[in-house]
């Protein structure tokens, strides 16, 4: 039940590297939504079976998906806990940024905080 506390640099590298490809991100999406076999996945993409196999292997090494034998087939499943770990990694950056803002606000004094925070935007992402 307990998730690995610390991810090594190498593991983090593999996670982000695995996500840095559109085909692999699509595989993750699909395997999060439903179980699916390797060959069924391979049918979806305009590349060889072996190429898709390699993409799945990269995701598997990053532990973003798991593969389980069922007869001659291999069922691929997305690993949501690993996705959450990736989220936590980005949260860390966000926290660093916020702590910086807090320190700047402290320098500016309490009452100037409201104005300052509107300026450098600590709260809502500007997008979407």
């Amino acid at each position: 039940m307990v998730v690995q506390l610390e991810l090594s640099d190498d593991e983090v590298n593999r996670i982000f590297r695995a996500l840095a490809d559109a085909t692999r991100r699509d595989i993750v999406r699909r395997t999060l939504v439903a179980e699916i076999t390797v060959s069924h996945l391979a049918d979806s993409y305009d590349m060889s079976f072996a190429a898709v196999q390699k993409h799945i292997a990269v995701l598997e090494e990053a532990r973003l998906v798991t593969k389980e034998p069922r007869g001659r087939e291999r069922i691929v499943r997305g690993a949501p806990d690993r996705i959450r770990q990736a989220q936590h990694l980005l949260d860390e950056f966000e926290l660093l940024w916020r702590s910086r803002i807090d320190r700047l606000d402290a320098l500016l004094g309490e009452d100037a905080g409201a104005v300052a925070s509107a300026d450098h935007d600590t709260s809502t992402p500007t997008g979407e």
Copy 2:
């Protein structure tokens, strides 16, 4: 002030690719906390100045940092909005997973939901 709504596959690739290196993640952390020059950054790592320059260039192409001239120096700053965009990308995966769980719960019926959700775990990562 408004951030780009949709990220292209290529942009997403660059963001995750850029984060898939420990040195670059460290640069992002440091530039989120405080402004810092290229040469000051370069001093911190056990590699050539040019190598660090290249890492910064990768981050800049992913728009995870910005560079601004100040005299002969270049000030590097982390771009928190880009980090947030990356977070949103991972949120998307999380949502897919949750919607799957919701559908499974619906199949099991309303009252069976509580038991079922404890079983397949919508909240806390399961770990290995």
